[in-house]
Amino acid sequence: MDPKEIIARRVAKELSDGDLVNLGIGLPTLVANFIDPKIDVYLQSENGLIGLGPIPEKGQEDKNLTNAGGQYVTLKQGGMYFDSATSFGIIRGGHVNVTVLGALEVDSEGSLASWIIPKKLVPGMGGAMDLVVGAKKVIVATTHTNKGNPKIKTQCSLPLTAYKEVDLIVTELAVIEVKEDGLHLIERHPDTTIEEIINQTDAPLKYTNVKPMEVKS
């Protein structure tokens, strides 16, 4: 299975009935494909809607209906539109249950770097800083390494998106919980070993009872 699909499938299991969820651009967007159809999850897009539906069929695109990545989307029954101040009021005010976003680096304290590589890549933080500070639960969904270079570190070296806000890290290899005393490895992909995970992680990992990661269809 594609690493991205493994991650998206596992993240989807974190969502509960009634949750308001914001999925970041890129990999996190895939999570929508794997949400348990038996529960009602409401997707927010910070550019101004709740009730994000699937990509429209070809020819059905509406230039006034996009997600925060600028892609054409649809609105589900029961969804609605609002302005940017309202949208970030929802985000900052703790009304978003779960936000899922990618990382350049994430560290033992739950700090996240995701928006800038000084002098190389300066796209801007967009809504990420508000989402990470405001959402009740912050899930980082990322490949375990960047072409072999660990993304999970003792301390982020890049400028932060937010300090001590991440709750859970989901990669194609492992599920790691961020607690007061550091990172706890709680699940591993059945095809890998704890040793392999430790080798690809640049931070101490605590573990006692590591369960197999659920990634079935």
Partner: protein, 218 residues
């Protein structure tokens, strides 16, 4: 009070060194026709306040590409390489602001507030040079209000007075910008006889001038 104006009257509102808020999110909800008229006007050294830098040939990106912008306040510039390159060569002064903070700073100006306390950006480079104020055991950054000389917004429809509604996610920054500039110009797709008083998003008192989309080039 006739608010309905043509291209010529619009161009008369423009000046060098103006600060201009432009609605839209990755150009969804950006009044492209008004930006084209700003380009035609030859004004320069503008300060642009917009969610993002647009694309090279869409939205405020067109003004940046044409080097008419001196300063840009935005949350994201990643889709317009001209913004990044002009920033590197010090031709464009870019202030990056978290999107929710930018929205509140604009709303604050429109609502007569001096600023707001937000938890966003604590312990990041956004915090640099800002007041940190503690309340209920939490630290907040004091972010001050942002206004502008001019706001250019895109609306879907309005009545004769200018009571405005938007279309879907093209709403985004448009309503708050309509409250926060000395002069507000709305580009509308449609004029309607009336707007349901329960559904008006931007009351007419916020809109100074209206341009109808099909008056293109008039």
């Amino acid at each position: 009070m006739d608010k309905w104006i043509t291209k010529k009257a619009f161009i008369n509102l423009l000046k060098n060194h103006q600060s201009i808020m432009v609605g839209g999110f990755m150009t969804c909800g950006t009044p492209e026709t008004l930006i084209d008229w700003v380009l035609e006007s030859e004004v320069k050294d503008l300060t642009i306040i917009c969610n993002d830098a647009g694309y090279p040939d869409q939205g405020v990106g067109k003004l940046i590409k044409a080097r008419r912008v001196k300063k840009l306040i935005a949350s994201h510039i990643g889709l317009n390489p001209y913004a990044g390159s002009q920033m590197s060569e010090d031709a464009l002064d870019v202030t990056l602001v978290p999107q929710g903070t930018l929205a509140e700073q604009i709303r604050a100006h429109g609502a007569g507030l001096g600023g707001i306390l937000t938890p966003t950006g604590r312990h990041t480079i956004v915090e640099e040079g800002k007041h940190v104020i503690r309340h209920n055991d939490q630290d907040y950054l004091l972010e001050t209000a942002i206004g502008a000389d001019l706001a250019l917004i895109q609306i879907e429809a309005c009545d004769r007075l200018g009571n405005a509604v938007y279309s879907k996610t093209a709403r985004n920054f448009n309503p708050i910008m309509a409250s926060a500039a000395n002069t507000v110009v709305a580009l509308t797709n449609h004029q309607r006889d009336s707007i349901d008083p329960e559904c008006v998003v931007t009351p007419h008192i916020f809109i100074d001038y209206i341009v109808k989309e099909d008056t293109h080039g008039s």
